[in-house]
């Protein structure tokens, strides 16, 4: 039986047998490369097989799927597995402990006052940043749906924050808020004569973080809402004008149905992202002034304290919370639209 292109099953079999034998018989630094070569062989068999069968569609998406698998799906499953073990990335030992990580996280970790505070802070940031972004984004979209001079250039300008890296804008805002040479303190000091440090209090720190986050992500909301706004046929407004309908009712009966779905989408995206808020906190306050978030807490546990499997458990609990929250949104949205 020769290794024809159709023998992808044979290729898998050969790959598995050789890999297993190599792993048993040879030292790790040799068997690693042999297993890698076998994986390449199986992949090549798949590609040739698909090509011979003119299955080009599958071939074209295969690289993307491969990357997705290596970068997303595999780590996701791997970390799920890890969350059931006692494992630290700086130690060799690994031991299956079932749900112990989860019970520990739920009882000791999250219920500990400091960590519970981080969770509450996260909820607060979710509410504040998402609200700010939705409102500012919506208003910007209403503005840019109209035609006015320099609209195109202003639009590019407004979209810029979204394209900046978070680190860049974080650093930018940390300079902006800086008590000694930041423009904010400088201006307020000049007017009041006193010393003003925004990051001095919790309220100030939260305001600073929410403002920076809203500055970065309102354009994203705007972009989605704007897409909805421009899709409304103009003649509907003309018909409504002839029907003598007020602008306010025109908005609710004509405009809003067109943008509702996209606003929901923006809300979902931004809620999920806000739940993961850590980068701006790290850059602006390092968690000081009671601005710790659960995501930042997770980074500390998993990366700084090397409690890998415990971090994995927290991640999965967070994922669970996000899924519950987003499904709640969708449930409400669906019930609303059915009620209409």
């Amino acid at each position: 039986m020769r290794l024809s292109p159709d023998n992808w099953k044979l290729a898998i079999l050969v790959g598995l047998v050789v890999s297993v034998l190599a792993a048993i018989a040879l030292p790790p630094h040799v068997s690693f490369w042999i297993v890698g070569a076998m994986a390449a062989l199986v992949a090549a068999a798949f590609v040739v097989n698909a090509y011979r069968r003119k299955y080009y569609g599958g071939l074209l998406v295969a690289p993307a799927i491969a990357v997705l698998f290596v970068m997303n799906i595999f780590p996701l499953l791997w970390s799920l597995g890890l969350s059931f073990f006692a494992y630290q990335s700086n130690q060799q030992s690994i031991r299956f402990i079932g749900l112990a990580n989860y019970t520990k996280v739920l009882t000791n970790d999250i219920m500990a006052p400091a960590n519970w505070g981080a969770l509450v802070n996260t909820a607060m940031f979710v509410v504040l940043t998402v609200t700010a972004q939705m409102i500012v984004g919506f208003l910007l979209a209403m503005l840019f749906a109209k035609q006015f001079p320099l609209r195109k250039y202003l639009l590019i300008l407004v979209l810029t924050p979204m394209m900046l890296s978070v680190v860049a804008s974080g650093v930018f805002f940390s300079y902006y808020y800086d008590p000694t040479f930041g423009i904010l303190s400088y201006v307020i000091n000049a007017i009041t004569g006193g010393q003003f440090i925004l990051m001095d209090s919790k309220a100030g720190a939260v305001t600073g973080i929410v403002f920076a986050d809203a500055w970065m992500w309102s354009p994203f909301v705007m972009l989605l809402v704007l897409a909805g706004l421009v899709s409304v046929p103009k003649y509907l407004y003309e018909a409504a004008a002839i029907d003598r309908v007020s602008k306010w009712r025109q908005f609710w009966t004509i405009t809003f149905p067109y943008i509702r779905g996209l606003m929901m989408l923006a809300l979902l995206f931004r809620t999920i992202e806000a739940f993961k808020l850590a980068d701006l906190v790290i850059l602006l306050t390092k968690g000081g002034n009671d601005t710790m978030t659960i995501s930042y807490h997770l980074i500390r546990i998993a990366n700084e304290q090397n409690k890998t499997s415990e971090g994995a458990a927290i991640s999965y609990l967070m994922l669970f919370m996000v899924i519950v929250l987003t499904n709640l949104y969708l449930y409400i949205a669906n019930r609303r639209s059915q009620g209409d």
Binding site: A240, I242, R249
Partner: protein, 363 residues
């Protein structure tokens, strides 16, 4: 006004440009109350802009617009008492048929029970009672059209503007809706301004027709007037189907007879505004041509196309290098076939004579 009632609608010298494009050029006409008035012309002559101007959706550059004798040139849309049906129907996609009907009334603060009665009345009148809970995009084209009409009618407007309302319907529906619109007009007696590029719609529905060209009215009159006495070759070419045959001619010295490729034609009247030897165009309706009887003055011709249309047949013949179409009753065309030579005769009393340079009719 000299004692007479002000017209429902009067446009005087209205102009409107979009950039360099002149959509309306010193447009003037008036519409008496209760008239079914048709604006007729091919696309892009300014029909829609005219309607939008009357509705108040377009601000004019110059001119004056009066509704019932009142200057409303710059007044807001709301006060005009005008309703409009759009070519695209412009139904509110997220509202049901019932809500589409009720929408304009709600805004006027009409009581809920009153709205309900009027919605059901309108729906019954337009045979939409069984569709009230549906959304517009689940309806057929004809039903959507009726919803659009109903939404305009429910407010009992004094003036109803219809912008090519039948263009998006199929032929059978168009026929039904023409009758329907005439019935509604009789029933409510409102003033209707109806824009259409369709000759059949214009002639069959309009009590009066204004033929438009380049943002101005070329000629207005009843369908018969436009057919019998077209003011120029443009109107002559637009009204009447098949179109009028136009033949180049030269006015003879007696200002009465014409030299044409078909031979000398005696118009039987004197063209006082013409000069001897002037280049003219002779218009002959296809129905004013027929095979000559024995002994009649005739032009020899050769049949090259026969189009039977049921009760009549359009026969295209070649005579003197010109192609002429004639409309014959089905039985008198039955013997003809392409290639036949037929002597034809022209009803000379009914020919139209136009000045070649301007296209204007000569008298």
């Amino acid at each position: 006004m000299a004692g007479s009632k002000a017209p429902a609608l009067r446009l005087s010298g209205i102009s409107k440009s979009y950039g360099k494009v002149r959509a309306l050029d010193n447009l003037s006409f008036d519409v008496p109350e209760g008239r079914f008035f048709v604006l007729f012309g091919p696309s892009a002559v300014g029909k829609t802009t005219t309607l939008r101007t009357i509705a108040g959706l377009v601000a004019t550059d110059a001119g004056r617009l009066e509704i019932n004798g009142q200057d409303v040139t710059t007044s807001p849309i709301a006060g005009r008492g005008v309703s409009m049906v759009f070519q695209s129907f412009a139904l509110y996609p997220h509202l049901t048929v019932y809500e589409n009907f009720a929408y304009p009334l709600k805004e006027e603060g009409v009581a809920r029970e009153e709205i309900d009665t009027r919605v059901k009345e309108t729906a019954a009148m337009l045979k939409l009672s069984h569709r009230l809970e549906r959304k517009p995009n689940t309806l057929s084209g004809g039903e959507q059209q009726r919803v659009a009409l109903g939404r305009s009618l429910i407010r009992r407007p004094k003036i109803l503007l219809l912008d090519e309302p039948l263009t998006n319907l199929d032929a059978k529906l168009r026929h039904d809706m023409r009758a329907e619109l005439k019935r509604l007009h009789r029933q409510f007696g409102m003033t209707i301004v109806y824009a259409t590029p369709d000759e059949l719609e214009a002639l069959s529905m309009g009590e009066e027709i204004a033929v438009m060209r380049d943002g101005a009215v070329v000629q207005r009159g009843t369908p018969d007037e436009l057919y019998e006495k077209p003011a120029d070759t443009y109107v002559a070419g637009k009204i009447g189907s098949p179109h009028m045959n136009i033949v180049k001619a030269t006015l003879a010295a007696d200002l009465s007879s014409l030299d044409t490729p078909l031979g000398k034609l005696l118009s039987g009247r004197k063209i006082h505004s013409g000069n001897a030897g002037e280049a003219t165009l002779v218009g002959i309706r296809p129905s004013d041509l027929r095979p000559a009887a024995a002994g009649e003055a005739a032009v020899p011709s050769r049949v090259h196309l026969i189009e039977p249309l049921g009760d009549v047949t359009v026969v295209s013949v070649e005579a003197g290098g010109e192609t002429l179409r004639m409309v014959l009753p089905e039985q008198s065309a039955s013997g003809l076939k392409p290639g036949d030579t037929v002597p034809i005769t022209i009803d000379l009393d009914k020919i139209h004579i136009f000045r070649a340079a301007s296209g204007q009719v000569m008298t």
